[in-house]
Symmetry: C2
Subunit: 335 residues, 2 copies
DNA sequence: AGTAATGATGTAAAGGATTACATTGGCAGG
DNA sequence: CCTGCCAATGTAATCCTTTACATCATTACT
């Protein structure tokens, strides 16, 4: 692989000029520029990133960690983040942490070692190795949280109003006449699960149903919801609100396995609006999140920090939407 | 951030010794090692990767590109790849190419620029910018193909026997008495779709059904299969074989939309065995791929090449398996 | 005791790009 | 024609680490 020295020699200029041609073409005479570019093409020269990043102390990369890459919800977020990063001249390094704090820390090390310029994390935990950094640098620490949001972490974040979305789901079920409603939450450490639970409780309270909510804990995966739904069905609920579409799929499967029909016997509503949700059987009613936009805005926030401009807003709340499909219907006891 | 020079000064040794303590602890006296480590801890020193990689010409990273990160099939492959990479001391940079050759090229550039040491690509196209490299270096080019396989590309690859898997699916349907079978393929540029089609045709031929196969082209996404299934159903097929589980979900949805039942009126069989497949309604019969193992083996092959050992096998064919669930049943005209 | 071998550590040269500062030459204005 | 400025380009230091080679001190052996 050719180096900048060989290019400079072949073009009859100094390395400084070659470097300038590549990074600030305007500061070089047109004739020289053309000549250098010609040689660059001929030698198929590519700047060595290690050398560049050693000198500039910047990596032109941002790290994006997701708690579970097999969750299709994150795929759309990743898409949006990648686009925004590309627009800003950054490449994205993607890390799958599998909800494992140790792996989260390993990835976060990349930031400490300057392998990447910043971090967008979609989980709910700030990796331990970054706590000191965030405490020290505050708002100018190159770390942004997406999807989840915990005020105590102290980093900017992008998310929807989870409590409001959750309340909308409950309102929808109540409107359909449901009174015995099962709620399959996420793990209690997850702030968005807590927010959604709070929203659901508040909405239920408005209708005097607070104590009739049947709560069960899930882990956002279909399996856990399948199990939870089984017992909820035996408790006689007529509707199930799941904190993720995957769990809704597991719940629908449990309804079928119990010999019941969704939505005739049991309505099911999810959360996220996965691309596949409309192909579920029955098509899934759910609370849609603006997934791509969450990713995009999170990266834009991070890039703003990296550029040194103080972000206008440190917390971005995007709009959610109730998508009515076929998995919810009137409560069976309604007449 | 402390540098190795500061550490050396604080520990009263040379930078060479510090470097050795970190990379080859055995070559240093125990007392010195302890002393240096103490300072390393105290100063929270982390080697600068840019400098290291500049000096060693290695990045300790491998690039993994997937054609579509929102396809959960790849998630499991990615998991396996990451594990194997970690075991071998490499980090994984993940790229989502969205089937876009331009994006594929952009990622491949990372290899040319030595930002990564090698590439595992899960698509079916060798990025154009790497053709020269592969032609020049042949088997020692640090490039491996996973899932897909085209002999003409000339790089090692890991995959299942797609033709055989596909034949198994057809055999299963024929065994159940189906004669009018719809097949929803992938795009014809995809070699695995071609292989699966060939396998399906061969199996059909064995039963004299070659000309009764109803072929339609899909794109592995649920949408395309939903549309294709609609017309196939109107043609009177009693079974649908889809080249991906996502398409099978789309097909099942079309069966329901046509007022028919799966599997009573139309059986559906998929391909991949996504983690969610057993929660589909009905639970999906499918051809399972060893997804994690494909990722793991692909990385191991690549690491072998990077270590300079000639790979024992350049083509690895792993085992697939027919998973019988509820979406396939006896043909309705069977008695 | 002298020599060889071994082990521990130090010295200093890369590795490739960027950029502050220096230099050159041309041109405008007086 | 001289001065001063500007644009274009060059010089060389710098970023931080690894590692071949050199050095020195021990130990083992004859």
């Amino acid at each position: 692989m050719a180096t900048i020295i060989e290019v400079a020699a072949a073009a009859g200029v100094s390395t400084a000029t070659v470097s300038r041609v590549l990074s600030q073409p305007g500061r070089v005479a047109e004739a020289t520029r053309a000549k250098v570019m010609e040689v660059v093409e001929a030698l198929d020269y590519r700047p060595n990133v290690a050398a560049r990043s050693l000198r500039t102390l910047r990596a032109a990369k941002i790290l994006l960690t997701v708690p579970d890459i097999s969750n299709p919800f994150f795929a759309s977020v990743i898409r949006g983040a990648e686009e925004a990063a590309r627009d800003a001249g950054y490449a994205v390094v993607l890390g799958d942490t599998r909800h494992d704090p140790e792996v989260e820390d390993q990835y976060a090390e990349m930031l400490s070692r300057r392998e990447v310029d910043g971090l967008v994390f979609l989980g709910h935990r700030l990796p331990a190795s970054l706590e000191a950094l965030v405490a020290r640098q505050g708002a100018s620490a190159p770390v942004v949280n997406g999807c989840e949001y915990s005020p105590e972490i102290g980093v900017p974040s992008v998310h929807i109003d989870n409590a409001a979305g959750s309340a909308d789901a409950i309102e929808h079920l109540v409107e359909l006449g449901h009174r015995e409603i099962g709620v399959i939450t996420g793990p209690p450490i997850s702030p968005i699960s807590r927010d959604r639970l709070a929203g659901a409780l508040r909405a239920a309270e408005r209708h005097g149903l607070k104590d009739r909510l049947h709560l069960r804990e899930g882990d956002y995966g279909a399996d856990s919801a399948h199990r939870a739904a089984r017992t909820l069905i035996s408790e006689g609920v007529t509707a199930l609100f799941c904190f993720s579409d995957e769990m809704a799929l597991g719940a629908i499967s449990a309804v079928g396995a119990a010999g019941l029909s969704c939505p005739d016997d049991v309505s099911v509503i999810g959360f996220d609006d996965l691309p596949l949700a409309r192909f579920f059987h029955p098509a899934l009613t759910t609370i849609a999140q603006p997934k791509g936009m969450i990713g995009r805005r999170a990266v834009e926030l991070l890039v703003g920090i990296l550029r040194g401009s103080e972000p206008a807003e440190r917390q971005l709340t995007l709009a959610h939407e109730l998508i009515r499909r076929a998995s919810t219907g009137p409560a069976p006891n309604t007449r």
